[in-house]
């Protein structure tokens, strides 16, 4: 086996991080996407732009601001300290917070597209049948937006697995806590352990390809409704 226990720990940690992040993003991203899809507020543009920021910002910018904001003198750090949680950098929870910011548009945007594609008519029909807004959401919107949720989950998960810059800036490279696969690959390369770097890097390449294959394969079958 060319991968040692540290490599395997990094792989496990990466999957844990991506799973937790995706779950939180689905809970957080659904109301944001719904609001963005339905609202006529003047705030739609600015909020949509903020959500999309991680698409264009270098991870170093995000990582740097997170490090400062979550540090003992930053505003997030002050809040977490007053809650008795300490500061978030160099912890798994800190990585989750960073990843939620980093992958936010990859979950919100597919959901928003899916919600917008539903249109007014199914909602009006449900309303004439006296369905409450909550009932409408769970019985009509969620089933119709299913492809959007699948796309959002896959993209959110995969994008978090591919995270590097943010983790490097706020992680502190602690085995089992913050040393994810991408950082481990970087370490192997810097330490000139090219064989191990190849195994992990090749694995990442294969994983990413398979994820996209599943995503695009299913999209084709559905006629790009996602």
């Amino acid at each position: 086996m060319p991968l040692d226990s540290v490599d395997l720990a990094a792989i496990w940690l990466t999957f844990k991080l991506a799973s937790v992040t995706t779950l939180i993003l689905l809970l957080l991203g659904t109301p944001i996407a719904w609001w963005l899809a339905r609202t006529t507020s003047r705030m739609k543009g600015p909020i949509g732009a903020v959500v999309a920021l991680p698409l264009v910002l270098p991870p170093t910018v995000l990582g740097f601001y997170l490090l400062v904001a979550m540090g003992p003198n930053g505003f997030i750090g002050q809040i977490t300290q007053s809650l008795g949680l300490g500061t978030l950098p160099f912890t798994f929870a800190g990585l989750v917070v960073g990843s939620v910011f980093y992958s936010l548009p990859f979950v919100v945007q597919p959901l928003q597209n899916a919600f917008e594609a539903i249109g007014e008519r199914p909602l009006e029909a449900a309303a004439t049948l006296r369905a409450s807004p909550w009932d409408t959401f769970f019985s009509v919107v969620l089933p119709l937006a299913r492809p959007g949720f699948i796309t959002a989950s896959i993209l959110g998960f995969a994008h978090t697995v591919g995270e590097f810059g943010v983790v490097l800036m706020i992680g502190g490279n602690i085995p089992g806590q913050t040393r994810v696969v991408s950082v481990q690959i970087y370490d192997h390369v810097e330490a000139m352990e090219y064989a191990q770097a190849h195994w992990l890097a090749g694995g990442m390449l294969l994983f990413s390809f398979l994820v996209l294959l599943v995503l695009y394969g299913s999209r084709l079958k559905q006629g790009w409704r996602g």
Partner: protein, 283 residues
């Protein structure tokens, strides 16, 4: 006219070109006169030809040497006319880049094994390497007065995170780990160690307050040989392996006079004194 003085005394033909009938500097609308603008641009383009001896050298510099090297590069250009273009980063990363064709001509490594390895592999010129600085490790905190007795502070363990550079890839990290091993604290503190990718990031972890303490390079916090801000314990050199930092001429730079000039320059007495003032030892 504007361009004469900048062209320097060497390129006479270019200077002569400028001695024409005087022209208005600006058109009526306040813009630079078109023909003048053209000449100005032409002069700027030809400016490098003015000093045929001046050349550029691409230098890969270990992160701990960032501050002194910026100053040295400025003096180097003033004294020799050559321009040193600096890239800062981790030595291990530079090794991978150099082995894969990076255009660096000189490497200022953080250790003495990487230059040796590059030499063996034919990427560096044999016999060109020498120790330009001996790194000093310091246990540092941005809080004044916090670090008085370093070993005692580490034993008490009254901190959440202790930052160090990655010992696998950074010589300062290896020295930090050796120091903890010497003090018998490597096991007890393992859960609180956070690692920077290089010594610059390690400093950032501590300076931002996210780690209360960290092992960094003395050069990062020293001015005139003393710790300038915060408080620190300069680790005695006999409890960790020496951080011998070697400079080496890379194969890509063997025909570049500026590359050789820079290596010579680093060994000059006034530059050695400058390096020392940043808290480095010398050999």
């Amino acid at each position: 006219m504007a361009a004469q003085t900048e062209a320097g005394p060497v390129n006479h033909s270019l200077v002569k070109l400028q001695y024409d009938a005087p022209q208005p500097l600006c058109t009526e609308r306040g813009r630079m006169h078109p023909s003048l603008a053209l000449r100005y641009a032409l002069t700027l383009l030809l400016l490098p030809l003015g000093n045929a001896l001046a050349a550029q050298v691409q230098v890969a510099v270990a992160s701990n040497f960032t501050a002194p090297m910026r100053e040295i590069a400025g003096r180097f250009e003033r004294d020799t006319g050559h321009q040193a273009r600096l890239a800062f980063g981790a030595t291990g990363k530079f090794y991978a880049q150099i082995r894969n064709g990076a255009p660096f001509e000189v490497l200022l490594s953080a250790d003495d094994t990487t230059p040796g390895r590059l030499e063996q592999e034919g990427a560096a010129i044999p016999g060109s390497r020498f120790t330009y600085a001996v790194g000093r490790l310091v246990l540092w905190s941005p809080t004044a007065g916090l670090v008085q007795d370093g070993p005692d502070l580490l034993r008490k363990g009254d901190f959440r995170h202790l930052a160090m550079a990655n010992p696998k890839t950074a010589p300062y990290g290896a020295a930090a780990l050796a120091t903890l091993e010497h003090l018998g604290l490597d096991d007890t503190l393992r859960g609180r160690l956070v690692q920077g990718e290089n010594i610059a990031q390690t400093h950032q972890f501590v300076a931002s307050g996210n780690a209360q303490l960290g092992f960094i390079a003395l050069s990062q916090v020293a001015k005139d040989g003393r710790i300038a801000t915060g408080s620190g314990w300069v680790v005695p050199t006999d409890i960790h392996p020496a951080i011998r930092q070697e400079a080496v001429l890379l194969t890509k730079g063997q025909d570049n006079p500026a590359a050789k000039a820079l290596l010579d320059y680093l060994a000059q007495p006034q530059i050695r004194a400058l390096i020392q003032s940043y808290g480095y030892g010398l050999e």
